[in-house]
Amino acid sequence: MDRSLKITAYTVTTAAGRGVADHLKALEGDASALRPCDFDSIDLQTWIGRVDGVEDAAIDGVLRDYDCRNNRLAMLGIQQDGFVQEVDRAKRAYGADRVGLFMGTSTSGIGQTEVAYASRDPRTGALPKDYNYRTTHNMYSGAGFCRRLLGLSGPAQAISTACSSSAKVFGTAYRYMRAGLCDAAVVAGVDSLCEMTLMGFNSLQLVSSEPCRPFDRDRDGINIGEAAGFALLEWPSDDADVCLLGYGESSDAYHMSRPHPEGAGAVLSMEKALSSAGLRPTDIDYVNLHGTATPANDLAEDRALMTIFDGQVACSSTKGVTGHTLGAAGIVEAIFSCIAVTHDLLPGTHNMLHVDPAIQSRILLEPQLRPVRRVLSNSFGFGGSNASLVIGQPL
């Protein structure tokens, strides 16, 4: 079955900037937006991808109950690139109740609960009176916030499958549209810095004390980042520039926080994505790797890639630009895939000095300008949750 959807509009905000133009520049160049960790009271030798200005973007007015770092980041992100205007057009075309909203996130606004716990009543242990679980911490908070911000009244939900969350929103949107529950969909991914993820990944010894170096000989872990990405999906039309062409999902069934050593689940999700797009491996011009820069993840992904592409496809990881934006990574890299297709740009692998000799895939160190028609983008998460997307020119 044809899985195509037109990606009518998209926008992305990460440490590398606000909106598509900033990210095109970042992907064309070799500068990294990562910085030594300066988040709150975290005393950790690591680098992070922190978005500037989130602290100053307070949410007031009727939606003030939603005010928290995660929703501030969502609001900053959604306001870029004329995205809200595009959604308004879709609302006029289909009706607000016929536009769905599906948001991927791993931790939603849990940072707000961290703040609340830090100011518990010393006598009773009670959380502060102004703490609102539903509008900040709950997994659906960001989806509910953006649905109200955009004035949508169609189906909506949060998808939370750790670091594959906002890749999976594309498949959900397709199915809801195909089943007739909506005529268009806003898909999103928003995850923000919080103490739990920084200290949690540190407890698993997965964070690097340096800028992360995916696929490098000396890579030793991730840098955690934060991001907000949004895309508007509609049925394909003749004027489409870039489309979702297919998606694949699978489970590792191996370990909660380690990848299958041969990347068996990753192979399955890439195979499903290709077959749902009706494409062969040779039809893919570029793979945007999950490439988190942990020794085990990158090696397993390389094994999986070799199984399918046998070293024949150009690939790179853009985590050196943004850090690992966790539940937002899927849509951030889906949007980088859109940028690759619309600008004929193959991004390089930022911060890489020496390719790990154990890696057999064709990893791009530097960005390259050449025709890009179809991209495959990988996202893998805890619990062995895998998702792959095929994005490209209409078939």
Binding site: R134, Y140, A156, S160, G384, S385
Partner: protein, 262 residues
């Protein structure tokens, strides 16, 4: 309108260990007191080394999943899964954030990887050696209805069986005032394309009128746990009679579920 078959049901609630017991209780209109503890949940489907690591919420979800799939003809490894939960495991979140208040912010790595909303999904795939697609979703109080839509659209569009598990545990004491739930509850529905023991037709509608439970304790449970919003559907399925129930979704929206017995 989406039509799916229901090939299996699982249920765990205070004093209720499985669907067989739940069905009896629903037919008799005789629920347990909400303060009754959950039955002993063993997580026995997991190998011992993994079983040691899991939490009450993960056991609750796995038990429901196992109950729905037991006795059926489908191998669990071939069935895609949708896990719906309003907020996942707030008890773990409570433990982690409490640790963050200690000097050096020491977090348990096991607690950290168990804190993801898809923890139960991950353990289920490990237990069943299942490589099929799996997703984990939330829509706050509308999580059960959202789970029905996510699972049913998968059944219809991908043409594959999908196991829906909706579960919400009690909130820990510190978070209880901010997120008060009346009782822990879990439900699982094995949804399949084509005919099965029951066929359910699902329609998304603008409405503010929803089915309630006739017995006060059951109605308290329905209103007091997002996963228990499934109770009117479970009561209809228990009755063996055709009928219609209306389940709340997002504000001003509901799912009209028409149940027919095959």
């Amino acid at each position: 309108m989406i039509q799916v078959g229901v090939a299996g049901i699982g249920m765990v609630a205070p004093g209720i260990e499985n669907w067989a017991q739940g069905r009896e209780r629903l037919l008799a209109g005789d629920p347990c007191d909400l303060a009754t503890p959950l039955p002993k949940l063993t997580g026995e489907i997991l190998p011992a080394n993994e079983r040691r690591r899991i939490t009450t919420h993960i056991r609750l979800a796995l038990q429901c999943a196992q109950d729905a799939i037991a006795g059926g003809t489908l191998a669990p490894a071939d069935v895609a899964t949708v896990f719906a939960s309003s907020g996942g495991d707030l008890e773990i979140v409570d433990k982690i954030i409490t640790s963050l208040g200690q000097p050096g912010k020491p977090i348990s790595p096991t607690q950290f990887h168990n804190s993801v909303l898809n923890a139960a999904a991950g353990y289920w795939s490990i237990a069943t050696h299942g490589h099929a697609a799996s997703t984990s979703i939330s829509a706050h109080d509308a999580s059960f209805a959202a789970g029905v839509l996510e699972a049913a659209t998968r059944v219809e569009v991908e043409g594959q069986p999908v196991l829906l598990v909706a579960s919400d545990p009690l909130s820990p004491p510190t978070l209880h005032p901010s997120r008060p739930l009346a009782a822990p509850f879990g439900v699982a529905l094995l949804l399949v394309p084509g005919p099965a023991k029951w066929v359910v037709t699902i329609e998304l509608r603008k409405t503010d009128a929803f089915s309630e439970m006739g017995v006060a304790e059951l109605e308290r449970m329905r209103g007091g746990n997002p996963a228990a919003r499934s109770l009117p559907l479970l009561a209809q399925l228990a009755s063996g009679e055709p009928g219609q129930v209306n389940i709340p979704y997002l504000s001003g929206l509901g799912l009209c579920l028409n149940v027919a017995a095959c």
